[in-house]
Symmetry: C5
Subunit: 340 residues, 5 copies
């Protein structure tokens, strides 16, 4: 579920982002606590070993290794790599949101141009929008684990009323092993447009053109959704970033230990037992990596992922409202209060 916090940041003068720090859902804490736990355990184990089990000689060796790690881990250009990567992922994340089609414009166009309030007219409009939603369900099902869980088989789609069993049979008759056939209901939609034009249910030809133009937009966005699933961010880019982050913190386990003696005197930090700043770094860098992990597939199960199942339901209900239920429920034309 998307975590909306717009209201909490309406004004920057009354607390600002501070209150956001105490949220749990979708928060940094929830996302990194597992990794943090592992890191703390490893760091503590190393610390105890050094303090209690090492001989003097081993300590001296360890100190050299720790110094070595501490010096050289700065060679890992973490903030730079993470910065570019996160900004790449984040812009892609928003593009993916923008690729989710909303049928509203198409619904209004159908409501205006496909006429007839008899059963046939109503069936026509309702079936047209049902096919639009059906194709969306089919493409979302193939890219989102959440939608897939909701509709594990085609029968679940039939049950939910997006499809009749006759339609399912027709759909299944199209071979779909080589490529995704989510667009088959779109062919039924266009057949209905053709039919409605011929039957003069769509009176003006420009009306059919408007519907087809809006439909093509809708069609293209379904294709985009599929494309974003098919073409991931190159694996090697993600691997480089992940390895860099993990390697950094593995080096921290050794390099950031308190050591009794150090050849560089001013590095002899006080023995605080808890490596505060290393933990802070853990929060920042691991936090940024988690930002990327959340955003890279916004059609999954994370707290921040787009609620596709809610969108599907919303589209279905709004569709029937706009092309059928509300179509005759319009207020009478009256003069507004500033009329004269």
């Amino acid at each position: 579920m998307t975590v909306s916090y717009q209201y909490d940041v309406a004004s920057s003068t009354s607390g600002g982002f501070t209150r956001l720090l105490f949220k749990w859902k979708g928060s940094l804490y929830k996302l990194v606590y597992r990794e943090l736990f592992l890191f703390v355990v490893a760091y503590g184990a190393m610390s105890i070993t050094y303090r209690h089990f090492f001989t003097e000689d081993q300590k001296r060796s360890f100190e050299r290794v720790a110094l070595y790690c501490d010096t050289f881990m700065n060679y890992i250009p973490l903030s730079f790599i993470l910065g570019f990567y996160v900004s790449f992922v984040a812009s892609r994340w928003w593009q993916q949101y923008m690729a989710i089609p909303w049928p509203d414009k198409l619904l209004h166009s159908i409501a205006v141009h496909v006429s007839g309030y008899d059963d046939h007219g109503r069936m026509l409009r309702r079936t047209m929008v049902r096919y639009l939603n059906l194709s969306l369900v089919l493409v979302l099902r193939s890219i989102s684990s959440a939608v897939k869980r909701r509709f594990p088989t085609f029968d679940h789609i039939v049950e939910a009323g997006f499809m009749t069993s006759t339609e399912l049979q027709l759909y299944k008759s199209v071979p779909s092993t080589e490529f995704n056939t989510y667009w088959v209901p779109f062919t039924w939609f266009t057949a209905l447009v053709r039919e409605a034009s011929l039957e003069k249910r769509i009176i003006d030809p420009y009306g059919a053109k408007l519907i087809m133009e809006e439909f093509n937009d809708y069609r293209q966005m379904c294709g985009m959704l599929w494309s974003y699933d098919w073409v991931s961010i190159p694996l090697v880019y993600t691997q480089v970033v992940t390895i860099a982050t993990y390697a950094f913190f593995i080096a921290c386990i050794v390099g950031r230990q308190f050591v009794e003696k150090s050849p560089i005197p001013y590095k002899m930090k006080p023995d605080l037992y808890i490596p505060y700043f290393t933990l802070l770094q853990f929060f920042f860098y691991m936090g940024l990596l988690k930002v990327a992990e959340q955003l890279i597939n916004p059609f999954g199960d994370d707290d921040e992922d787009f609620e596709l199942n809610w969108i599907i339901d919303r589209h279905m209900k709004v569709s029937y409202l706009i092309v059928d239920t509300l179509i005759l429920k319009t207020p009478p034309l009256t003069k507004d209060i500033y009329f004269d």
Copy 2:
């Protein structure tokens, strides 16, 4: 209210940005003075404690801790994280401005194509544009605290003349618990387009198409506004940035204190009592965080937030002017002064 300062920077040769430093409204000073006060108090308290209440031993311990903080706070890659975050938020902020729909193009299209200067024609045009504005009010009311305050209940919208009470009843009859129904007046708008086409008030079919195309644009931008409210910037990103900034300044309270003795001689800065450069850093980093806080929700109450209530009024007045009042007040066709 938006702070416009374009005129002050018309020329870069006469003072340039310097004069901007003396503005208060929407300024850095206004935004950070609370946080600055807290920081100064904490820093001063720590300074006094160190100078007057600590024993020699405690002082030596404190000096080690201060050195530790001073060294390690550079591990917080603040400028980098803030830079990327602010540039992400700022580009989103402008996209949000661009998503505010302006009906002007649609108004001109209606003025050209919906004919009739009798009462019915006037009512038709006025009602069409009223519905456009009504839907905008409804969507803005759900995303902006300022608009919500202006129209706390639907009755306020009726009172302001955006809606009749009959329309309100119709609007309320649509179930709106599951999803936002700001678009219901749009269905009334499209019904009027259909009606006007059938009554031949819209003479040319291409005129209706133009109106529907512009309407679809307008419709989509209302949806975009709602989307920007629904899908915030991932919480974890904002948290990472906020924690980094706050942690930095908490570390400053200790790490930037004047200390009497330091193992690194050249760090023995003169005892200036006031940590000038730390305060400067506070201005920069906290200032950048405040930039982000202001821009992240431009529909709130900040000095820089878009004046949605003014926009609503402007749209309403311009609407009636373009589709009704000015429609017959056109100058006679004359030869211009270069005619021959």
Copy 3:
């Protein structure tokens, strides 16, 4: 005036950017010489004071302060903040150029579709394009100091032939205190389109649609121009950048002085009297700030600002050429030299 130097950089092999260094108009030198003078005076005064008026004790104190400044001014992340800010301003600057509407496409459309070579037809076309230009003048007058200076009152606009006095009266009758009414002539334009359609001067309905579509584009860009003026880059962002830059150079006045003794031996730079590298830094950082100052309001009076007055004249002349003068001056249809 825009400084065009495309020809000077046609080839990168013959001198490249080198020759650009010797330009004065719109140059770095012209922009920073005032600030540079102030900086040099301040720096010199401090230098003389240190060398000739300070006692030994004062010198030692000053040296500590200078070292302190020199060390801590690196805490000001100037290049980073300036980099992001300049890139933000520069992309906005180009968007603003792109928002300046060019009527050419609309002119061609009018020339093709509004027929009639009699006086009425000519008046119709000429008046249509005059209204387009008039609205542009009105909106530019409200956002650009240069255009405002050219047309200080509406009478100047009438004089220049953009408006008749009858039109001015009509224009003034629209209340304009609450919002900008630059779009009023656009309502006259659309009235002419309606009229021309009814009179069958625009023969094909699709012709009127094309004109309206292009007009809507033009209309939107005028609105964009106004928006860029209304919504500035958040003041606080500009303030943060300006304060950072100024603070840096104020710190330089102390921190970059030659000092006789320094606790860090290798910082004992040779006494060169002139702080070459600090001056270089002044050029870079102040130069970047000046880039931002120039670009932030491209409708002002800077050397680089868009020549709106020239654009207005150009549009007016091209308008009359395309829709009137050249409309019948077309060459006879002949076979080209490759015809067979």
Copy 4:
């Protein structure tokens, strides 16, 4: 083949990117192991020479050179240059994906508007879409080594059924030495549109306009594909980045060796034999360079390159399905389960 890993990162809470580290196809390891091997061999050879073959004097000289390299290789701003370059290449890579035309919208438009279920009608539609696919094959063949390998000669295209031999002859009769003539089949397509309009197979004129509009989109994207091939990223940019990376690692071979004596004591790292952090750097920097190498030509043979041959097959099959096979296989109009 594109490496899709969206499912593996559906949730950031269950392992996140960790599991991606164990993939081989398209992975960092697969891409850098050759270069890594060369580097390790060179590094090892240098190490052995130093330890076993150098005299004491040679060792001292080597140590000075090593220190020199170690100090000065930090002058190579690798992470910065690589960061900007990779982000430039990556955004171009996605634009190239977006430039691959998908005929689906055009197919639906043809299915709606080109009527007739007799053999002639079917031939008409099938031939139209065949020409669309043929031009795509021709342009892809000229830019992609993979498609070129599949269709080494025009006869292979004829064999695969994209072209008849009559068409091939016609195609070959157009001189193609000076410029690419992949668009010749598009002229045949437009001829069919003209013919179908005249024969009233396309009943509504707006239908032909829709087809032509969608066709123009498709046409433009084929041109874009060709443009991306013609205009590469400037060679000198790629060379700068490549030289920087290689120079860095050549300097590493000397500068990162363990040395027995060093004038800077704290650089006397423990003798670990394996330069862990240098290897990590190798992974990061060479990995980023490999990201760029993969993305710079996504029409080649890399693991991540777009599967153009699959796309060609998919387009062909989907084309025939939409405009022919499925056109009459539409479900009957029924009431949906929420009808009343």
Copy 5:
């Protein structure tokens, strides 16, 4: 000429970018060798002076100055400024490529909708496309030195067949001192569209609309080309970057010299005579500046500049092919091999 190297980088596994290092045309070496030569001469002269002509005292002074330069030249944030500037220039470079109009879509539209295979019809179509190409030649001539060289006078354009001498006279009769009149042939084009509509050579009105829409696109891109020439990147930005780079390398001439004695012992690098790393830096930074120099005016004479003369010829030939030569050479409609 554009340097295409897509084929060389088809696969990242077989050498990758390595082979690009051995290209000369458009290469780093070709671009920087002049500057490199100057730098090497200056550096060598300074080196010889120091080693052979300086007295001991002068040497000690020089060493202090060299240390000073070496320390302070790091204050020049070269990689940062160059990074932002190059990325700004590079994105503008691609936008400029995208602004070059390709008439292909317009040609197809004319071929479909302007009917008639008699001489008059052929002349009509051929003249229409000739005017399109003529305007493009005129605008390119005013912005590109290469095109200007090809057509030094208007007579050369007439000779090349883009214009008849009658047309030239008409063109010259339009005053062109105040603004560029490259668009005059476009008025002739639109006159032909009007004529063809009236003569019913363009049968369907929507056909004329399609032609006008595509024409408006083409028209706008010609305007964009002119705009990119008129509005350069602000001069001051380019100057800042150039001065920064040159100042850096002038400082290198002193600061990177081998010195016999240095107060900082570990800076006493071995006397290698050749400053390898400084030369590397020269390659990177000067290389990046050269990237910018090449890309800033892509209509010039650099190796990487767009081959506008080739484009002009290509457009002319393709124009006649599509609207005339190939229009009747279409293959007969046949069943494809998968027909049943």
